[in-house]
Assembly symmetry: C2
Homo-oligomer: 331 residues x 2
DNA sequence: TTCCAGTCTGTGCACGTTCACAGTCTTCTG
DNA sequence: CAGAAGACTGTGAACGTGCACAGACTGGAA
């Protein structure tokens, strides 16, 4: 049983291919009579346009590719991805654009992505949490519309992005801790080659000034275990600290364990502030005071940027969205 | 600057289209001389085959679609999705198949998916956590290769799937709790229209027999809040219980909070067992004894089933993978 | 020598669209 | 009433590939 083509529809409706095509593509100049005849023919035959044939002539694929960088095996960002993917699918579906997923873990992956895009298999690219100096950014070139979800640091080629105001979020938390009367405030950062790692520390330093001594700063890699280690190190270096800002909720969970092991109460002895407001934030004891990122809106804006580019916008401005302090019990 | 076509490559290599095509598709009968000439021409011109043109003639798209059912806004399963997506992308990329994502939340979504598949825009379908009686399963028909990640319950059309042995996992936990000398063991289940909801209860009942009275069973919806509510209800109905098996880690985190609020110690007064071994399991206090699901392997096997179908297998058998008990401190 | 099998190559056609163009019919304007 | 403008329709030519087929060349067997 062959799939019906535009010919079949035209024949069934008693018109020509051209008219059917015009209706399909929402052009003007289709008479009401033709319109109803074609619409009936379409539903009778169960016709659906052949995308390959269309792509062949229009040079457009009707799909965009989302590129996930996965430097580490499993990151705290996982839940974030899910939100992003969902929002992107939904928004793109409105325009009948489909979302293709690709990975950019190693060199082979990146090459595949470049081939894919250069080959014209997608109309646009959406980068996700791309690392500093990722060669992919330059390899893609400026030919194809590309945006990033989350800032791309170390860019030679500027690429439009939507992101949360990481620095603002860190300031909010730091100010809150100071406002609570905490005097010796430490920080556990993320990896210093990610926007979240760098900018959350910057925001912290904005508020603490020279009180943010290196003695009070430890680095983690987003994992819970690293948060635990960093907290232990911090306690050793500065036993008198009375608050700590941890750059992710998952690491904060680790920090809580280290504090408990050291016999410190939270928030009594030490106040703990997290970041992300992920599902972990409510499952710890005590629940984490943290910074909520407007993930869905970031995803939304990222899609908006890409759509604008697809619609021919020459240049688009980055979008940075504000974070929000969520007060629970840990601080 | 036009993209090079197979004609250009043929001309540059001094052969005909046909020969280039044969090399590209790995057919026999390409002389060594032609081979090197073509390979050089390809890399010189930067040629990459036009997928649309190829699809048009082969009737294959080289892509499969993953359909995410999202009945609720945000589920505990989010992190699971990430693993699944990553594994699927990677495995499919090996065969140069790309992964398209779609949502099947409401009727409109499902219609879109059916149109997509029926329109031949994808060579196969991968269903994810499809709910009971999802009309999508029947709507897809038996024409296109389709598999499911996670069992599809209430199926009229049987659809091959890979899944974890939910029932086994529940038995493992129940047996462990019994083995620890617990006498009054309650359970908090998931929604009873999901495989995880039904089968984890079945496994629990397998071990407890008639001790699994309805008085000791409460239902949740996978959310932390529902776990907390269910635990509170359970404590009211059966104040003497000394253990509870919670069908997800996130709900278990809620249960922990309810127990703490009621002044019960864990595991002293009440032992708590979770399910999933998600990131939440290690962030609670105490860390959860739980059941680990081999998510990556499930994803792997799901892809295997689909690939087998794509390769023309008439029928494939479901794959069910064993779970594993992870002992921490909550039980 | 003749024939055949095997290896390799080139060519025409079909795949199902969109687009530009030419054409027809209607209605309005001067 | 002539002419123009507008509304609508049909047609041929691409788009870039894979496939079937026909043909050319080789080496070996009869």
């Amino acid at each position: 049983m062959k799939r019906p083509t535009i010919h079949d529809v035209a024949a069934a409706a008693g018109v020509s291919r051209g008219t059917v095509s015009r209706l399909l593509n929402g052009e003007r100049y289709v008479s009401p009579a033709a319109r109803v005849a074609i619409e009936r023919a379409i539903s009778e035959t169960g016709y659906v346009v052949n995308r390959a044939a269309r792509s062949l002539v229009t040079q457009r694929t009707g799909s965009i590719v989302m590129v996930l960088s996965e430097p580490h095996e499993k990151l705290f960002e996982d839940p974030n991805y899910s939100t992003l993917i969902r929002v992107a699918i939904r928004r793109l579906a409105e325009r009948d654009i489909s979302l293709v997923m690709m990975l950019a873990g190693d060199e082979g992956d990146r090459e595949r992505v470049v081939r894919y895009v250069r080959g014209g298999y997608a109309d646009g690219v959406m980068l996700v949490s791309t690392h500093a100096g990722d060669p992919l950014v330059n390899a893609l070139g400026s030919t194809t519309p590309a945006v990033s979800c989350g800032a791309v640091i170390g860019r030679e080629t500027a690429i439009p992005y939507a992101a949360t105001d990481e620095r603002l979020g860190a300031r909010q938390m730091a100010e809150y801790l100071v406002g609570q009367g905490r005097k010796r405030i430490g920080m556990i950062t993320g990896p210093m080659d990610t926007p979240g790692g760098i900018q959350r520390l910057e925001g912290f330093a904005d508020v603490l000034g020279r009180k943010a001594s290196t003695k009070l700063i430890a680095h983690g890699d987003w994992t819970q275990a690293s948060g635990e280690r960093a907290m232990a190190a911090l306690l050793e270096r500065a036993p008198d600290l009375d608050a700590v800002f941890v750059a992710s909720d998952l690491m904060a969970a680790g920090a809580l364990a280290a504090l408990r092991a050291a016999g410190r109460t939270v928030p009594g002895d030490v106040a703990v502030g997290g970041f992300d407001d992920s599902s972990v934030a409510t499952s710890t004891h005590p629940p984490l005071t943290t910074i909520r990122q407007p993930l869905a809106e970031v995803a939304n804006e990222t899609v908006n940027l890409l759509l604008a580019l697809l619609d021919g916008a020459k240049q688009v401005e980055p979008v940075i969205l504000p974070t929000e302090l969520v007060i629970r019990e840990s601080a």
